[in-house]
Symmetry: C2
Subunit: 342 residues, 2 copies
């Protein structure tokens, strides 16, 4: 193995993680959505960083305010899944010397607007010349001791819930989404959820993360999945030849283009499903709730939030088996979410 | 102004900083070496991030372990100047898919070795495909309430001290330096220093930061400056034509090449001085101490540290005037440290 292309992001992270030291005051480190470390006598600190890179996470024609919004919103989405309260942010900016300062100001206005909405302070960072525009956002948040929602904690018979809709985020949502901070905070504070993650690489990949870290399996009823309207818009404009349509969608999407999902038999329903499972950048919450609390949760949720909430399946003992069902019948689905370098 | 090249890094930061929100619990934000925010009932939290980019901060032939060492050491140098204790680190890695995984592992070993030495945990980060190799390091540290050493706080008649030697860092020191964590911690804990900064952009630039933020001036006795041997090695191999020698040095150094220091009359002594003042990446501590404590500090220092300590001048009331003296005579020196995009 001589390149990252051959190795892939996940194997790389495993290899690097083994080399790195930890401390006794680290409650959750590498492998989790956010790091959890000892804070004060009432709260843990949550640490999270994410990168936003031109031509990968946004394009040169993307409205600058949306670039800034997305840079911060991505990190906030992870804190939301953890149920944390974001507090302070640092930004490392990389830009070519030919970059237009007005565009940068507009990017920062988009970021500042979201920061203000959640009472977050931008307290520092670094500015460096580099080949392409990048924003690296580092956020510090907090949550009361030992209450942070993590990928671990899902148990057999828990009900799996997802917020909002899935798929087709590239048609606009990935630049404009509102991180589910209020929902995540409520889930954590009410001790409703046993595990949670935000869907950034697609439901298929992110649910697998929960299963792996919790040592459980899952059955998902695919007919229940809240597939975004944007997915069907895409399929309709693509015409009746769905095999061709799929390839064209994959080509038009830089993220999908790199990891085309392979179908044994491509059908419209399956194409829509593949989008919902694999597109990524949904930035919705995926979480598990003990079965005895599930009905009460759904009722309480509807009183507080307008955000759609859908039970999509259950956690099973068969670790780490992930079974996709269509009206009770197992579905042969082999897909993968987004992975860097591949 | 249509490009960052025309605007420069400092003006850009001023413009962006104005757009960004803060919070009541932020004790020091943008404009400081580290951000200081409310921690627990005994300590403040210190937050710092820095970027390390291929072909700017290191070259493709740089030994990989030194790349990792430098990535972390740069951030620790800022925490050292603040007198802080580093605790947790996140790393955003950007790499092309053609990158060799073995080189990355070696880079992380260099970083991990330094982290272990200072009992720092690497708790997370992000891995992304991008055009060039970059390491963005985010560090969280702490210091007892209201004791963090900042750029503010220098007062007229304070003595200015510098650790180690200055200049010529590109001949190797910039990749191998030990961040002055023990020294910074001792300075803060003993309440010796009124202000402090680490010298990353050159003494001329970094002293100016202290003067500006403290609202004071300074007189520096240039004949006292501890100029690194590497500077003179450079000059000697360059031969007797120092004007030419200077240009050749500037060409051979990517950082200097971008901001060549202009001399009215280039002489050997001045060339050496210019290196000491402007090369940057010395990663030494620059700090101010009340006059009445200066002798006691020097005595106490020698008992504990082998690190060289040199008084180089005094703080004056004439803000923000920075006077360079050579044996009591004012020196006409117009130089500038490193600035991105220019």
């Amino acid at each position: 193995v001589k390149t990252l292309h051959q190795l892939g992001e996940r194997t790389l992270i495993c290899r690097l993680a083994r080399l790195l030291p930890t401390r006794a005051d680290v409650r959750a480190g590498i492998g989790h959505d956010v790091a959890v470390v000892a804070g004060d006598h009432t709260h843990d600190l949550l640490l999270k960083s994410d990168a936003l890179i031109e031509n990968l996470h946004f394009l040169s024609q993307t409205p600058p305010r949306q670039i800034g919004h997305k840079a911060l919103a991505r990190v906030l989405s992870d804190l939301a899944a953890a149920g944390g309260e974001p507090l302070w942010v640092l930004i490392n900016l990389v830009a070519p010397h030919s970059e237009n300062p007005k565009r940068l100001c507009a990017i920062y206005r988009g970021l500042a607007s979201l920061a203000r909405r959640h009472r977050i302070a931008v307290v520092g960072g670094d500015t460096t010349e580099g080949p392409t525009l990048e924003l690296h956002v580092f956020a510090v948040g907090r949550a009361p001791h030992n209450t942070t929602l993590l990928r671990t904690g899902a148990r057999a018979s828990d009900v799996i819930f997802v917020t909002g809709t899935l798929g087709g985020s590239l048609r606009g949502k990935h630049l404009r989404f509102a991180p589910r901070l209020a929902e995540g905070h409520w889930l954590r504070a009410g001790r409703w959820a046993t595990a949670a993650i935000d869907i950034s690489d697609g439901l298929a990949t992110d649910l697998a993360h929960i299963l792996e870290m919790s040592g459980v399996g899952a059955e998902v009823q695919t007919e229940k999945l809240p597939i975004a309207a944007a997915v069907f818009q895409g399929l309709e404009t693509e015409g009746p030849d769905f095999s061709k349509a799929w390839k064209s969608w994959a080509r038009s999407s830089p993220r999908l283009g790199k990891n085309p999902v392979t179908f044994p038999k491509v059908r419209k329903q399956q194409a829509a499903l593949a989008h919902a499972l694999c597109d990524g950048e949904d930035f919705e919450l995926l979480f598990t709730v003990p079965r005895r609390k599930a009905a009460a949760l759904a009722k309480a949720w509807r009183k507080i939030f307008r955000t759609r909430l859908t039970p999509i399946g259950v956690i099973t003992k068969q670790k780490p088996k992930l079974v996709w069902l269509a009206n009770g019948q197992p579905l042969k689905f082999r897909g993968a979410g987004f992975e860097h370098f591949r």
